[in-house]
Symmetry: C2
Amino acid sequence: MTMHRLYILLVGLFISCAITAEAHNLSSPDGNLNLEFALDAQGQPVYRLLYKSKSVIEQSRLGLLFDETSMTDGFTIKDVSISEFDEVWNPVWGEYAQIRNHYNEMAVELVQSGTRQRTMTLRFRLFNDGLGFRYEFPEQRFLNYLTVKDELTEFNLTGDHTFYCIPGDYDTNEFAYTTAPISQIRKGMEINLRKKGYESKATSFSVQTPLQIKTTDGLYVNIHEAALVGYSAMLLNVDDVKFSLNAHLTPDKNGKKGFVQLPFATPWRTVIVSDDARDILASQLILNLNEPCAYDDVSWIKPMKFMGVWWEMFIGTGKTWAYSDKYNAKPGVTDYKALPPNGHHPANTAHVKEYIDFASENGIDAVLVEGWNEGWEDWGSYHKDRQFLFNKPYPDFDVEALQAYAASKGVKIIMHHETAANASDYELQMDDAFSYMNEHGYSAVKTGYVGYVIPRSEYHSSQWMNNHYIEVARRAARYHIMIDSHEAVRPTGLCRTYPNWMAQESARGGEFESMGGNDPDHTAILPFTRLKGGPMDYTPGILQTQLSYYNGEKNDQFVHTTLAKQLALYLTMPSPIQMAADLPENYRRFNDAFQFIREVPVDWSDSKYLEAEPGDYITVARKDKNSDRWYVGAITDENERTAIIKFDFLPAGKKYEATIYEDAKDAHYQTNPMSYNIRKIKVTSKTVLKQRLASSGGAAISIREL
Amino acid sequence: MTMHRLYILLVGLFISCAITAEAHNLSSPDGNLNLEFALDAQGQPVYRLLYKSKSVIEQSRLGLLFDETSMTDGFTIKDVSISEFDEVWNPVWGEYAQIRNHYNEMAVELVQSGTRQRTMTLRFRLFNDGLGFRYEFPEQRFLNYLTVKDELTEFNLTGDHTFYCIPGDYDTNEFAYTTAPISQIRKGMEINLRKKGYESKATSFSVQTPLQIKTTDGLYVNIHEAALVGYSAMLLNVDDVKFSLNAHLTPDKNGKKGFVQLPFATPWRTVIVSDDARDILASQLILNLNEPCAYDDVSWIKPMKFMGVWWEMFIGTGKTWAYSDKYNAKPGVTDYKALPPNGHHPANTAHVKEYIDFASENGIDAVLVEGWNEGWEDWGSYHKDRQFLFNKPYPDFDVEALQAYAASKGVKIIMHHETAANASDYELQMDDAFSYMNEHGYSAVKTGYVGYVIPRSEYHSSQWMNNHYIEVARRAARYHIMIDSHEAVRPTGLCRTYPNWMAQESARGGEFESMGGNDPDHTAILPFTRLKGGPMDYTPGILQTQLSYYNGEKNDQFVHTTLAKQLALYLTMPSPIQMAADLPENYRRFNDAFQFIREVPVDWSDSKYLEAEPGDYITVARKDKNSDRWYVGAITDENERTAIIKFDFLPAGKKYEATIYEDAKDAHYQTNPMSYNIRKIKVTSKTVLKQRLASSGGAAISIREL
């Protein structure tokens, strides 16, 4: 503290005064985290966050600017109330059967000077694993409608920390990560930028959240938001000289950042902190800051593993989503039956039946079919009123026959709704589409938002669209339909409230392995960033990692992992709707390795993060929600390493057999990725396993009691 | 012709060349209208329109600019095909039981030089009453998506003609008309501008269509568009020095004027021409240029007369749409049952039953109820995600009880959906709202779009919204629901294609008589302008014209007509969904005059325009669609006049009794508006009646065979 005070005295007297003179303090239940709140001499709210007595967030401003008024300064404190909350709740699915929501709360009611006495409440919740705070505007006489102009929220950091980040963008999150000190991320992200096709770069230098930070003194800090409802998504402006961040709300195309009516509350701004990287992964802070489940009946929400007519369109064998080569066919206008089929359309009845057969034989719950509906010939356009019809199958896709066939085999078919980001047309078709799903036995849909958004005032992350995604989840719930959304705004824990919103993509997923590749450290960063908001449909399980295998056409394209690491991803990238993304033929070829995918659960009663370092490695043990079986996954980046796996998560005094799916000695993600070994060892709670992982390798372990 | 040619030789040789050297000509079936089409030396398409050998439209350019390419010049003519079309069709409702669609057509296929050989077809249809033309872009190899940048279409006029016009605006048409020579309309419209509250003035000096013109040599010319589908609405830029007009398409807020995919066709640009103003009113050209009815079954579409809980909210007696005075109540959030009722909410069960009783007793088909649903306390905001719920009645409005009561009395209730221009939320709620209507016996809905549009990229007249209105009509048709839309884009004859889109407001309607008033010539202009696109829900029938009658609070507010003129409006402002807008108590007081409203039909088998001059007077005779009875209506502007009514529309050799509802001798719209007289005379087909009309007066005549 002494050093810190010296520092702030140097940068400005009033800052020091604020913290020292009028600070209101809050501690986490375990006392490790401390929050200081104060008003400075101008009546500006400021806060500071400390972890084990060290500053994590230096004194930082709070406040909101509206077109109509400024809620930034001139405040006095009307009331400060402190309370404690402690409950345990049971998520419908997830990494844990029970989640403890334990925090100390400080609500600071501020009143602005002047005759209008405008009030704003700052609500801070301090958990053992971090901080959440938000702005609340209670109903009041002289404020009703507000147009959000800017949010001032600052996160002033304590040094030139390492960021694991992607560039600020209003439309997409599908970027490769840059790992660098703050002072170097600008250049790093420029070098590392891999275009996707519909970026809308933020108007200032910024990064996206969840932002993982490692401080110069070894703290792990994660900044994001929780419960993004009725508001636009937050990016973070970066001052790479002062090491300061501040909120950058996604505007609409008129430059407005949100339209709100009182009473309203912003999403929670979250700062997860620990000196142990494993705690960042284990943190349930963001879920805890979301509202409880909005549905009374959740019996219809069922985690599932699925395969799909999907990866074969990426591997360079000429397979297409489109049924014909008619470049400008129009759904609802063109008579698709009259079009000559292109002969390379895998979403056809016979081929889907093969998937159903395979899924049924291997205990896979469901089969996703992409390219089943009219429109794929010509869909990627912002110019069209309607890109797709969601109740018009292609002529070679027999919905009724497949419904009967799938039912007879005990397999579900997963619907696909690519909206081409025409959200307004999707809203028009949504009820028809969900009714159609109900009529034909579908209970889950993968949605997609590829391209620039319609309504044309909106970005993927602007307020109107954020309302849209929630409306889709809620509307789907009416029909007992589960959602796996792609290209939507990155998640903020809303799956607690709307647990049928099972998973999202909203990051650079496995598909990019066929389009330039994902870096070996990518999946060692995502659990620290993207996954803090909720599960990701990453599409693991690609065992045939080299695409040159197919016909040489994509001979420079390959999955940047070993085969064993693909298996480990089922543990390190948990999702209640999890794909086995490779082709059935590859799973037949690697039948012994596929056994792990066959049996790995997708819903857990407990999780133990054994080892973790962002961008380097993750080792995690999880317990099946529906049995006593444990599974372990370990991954590493391009550096081979030896994972130290302590089996002390197992009950003492019992004997187990662990089946280890590991990199063979000569495995390497570039030169020999599919070299793997399967071995069985005996373990107890006292076992410590030194498990070697190859370069971008991994290990997956299935444990059963003997 | 000689004089004209001399003129164009003076202004430029190439213009003269174009018309003389390469002109392709088309004549109307009766030969009165002639169209000349040519390419000029730059390959720019130009046209000229002549009526009885006199220029109506001087040589004018045609062409479209897209962000992607220019379709304006460099053309050669690939093919010109001329054909004739003649058919008679039967509208579901309207002024005529049968409509003849008779035209000569010239399709000019143009090819642009260069390797891409882009093609555009100009299709001209020349009717006896005018011209329609449009741009067509057939499917072609090197064009698929286009972003509309500008439409060049010119209408070069022949002199300083008189315009009957309202200012160019992207959001509203509810302006008072200015009548002035072109050279003076700019100033005239400025002086005459009466603000409405959500104007979005066009970015250049422009007027709206339908634009009525009277030329310096006595021709009547009407410019509008037909079949506005998938395109933005057209304003007309005015060059008040050169007396030239050109298309000004409504942009979205990103400045884009439309997104189209080939094949596509623009709406028809229409020029109705005659030397007799009556022909302008009688013209069915705009309907003829629309596509035939899109529905197989139209048996559920039923013209109707209605009253409503409506006018009483305008007359200054403190009645409100809102149920309570809670300024920021929120539908779906606030518990309205817990709110104190404000005690002046007429949309309550008991009061609506009174309307039902009155309607039932007087043969009125239906009762509109505004203010029945949650949201009116706080609805006019662009900031809200949801202003209204369309299936949540106020606590004092018992939907089930009223459904039963109305059914027992043989009266329908008309639903009201004020969307507050939140079109995207209406799309979300539409199916639920229409289902709710079906469940509760409603078959018609008045929709409203007051305020700035959400999605926030859009204006009321931009492309996305134009698609929206059509989608609402189509979706409503699924539920057998009729639409009467207020504040939507002005109509373009789409009621032929979607005849459940019965009427629109989309102009300054009767309600403005309580808010500053409508000029006495207003309803002598509207039939020449707004009504050319389709029926208007003008809300005639206000017999108590002075609002000071109620409590003096609006003592400067009055209806700017006599009582008799209000009756005549049922003939001069035909609509298949026509309101009797006054209060039951007033109809009881003026029971003898109300008899005309009781019996006047709303659907016609024939119509004869007997006298007409825009802005001055209109006299029309119409024959009931369901009987042999004829009705006549005559109105005048502020100048009293004597209408000369020739009864030669009646079958010869039969005797009739005509009941005349007329201005009394001392009637005057300002000083003595409610002074009227009812008399009966005998008439035959040979009768010529000299019928005096007071200042802003009228006469309504009911004729029955003896």
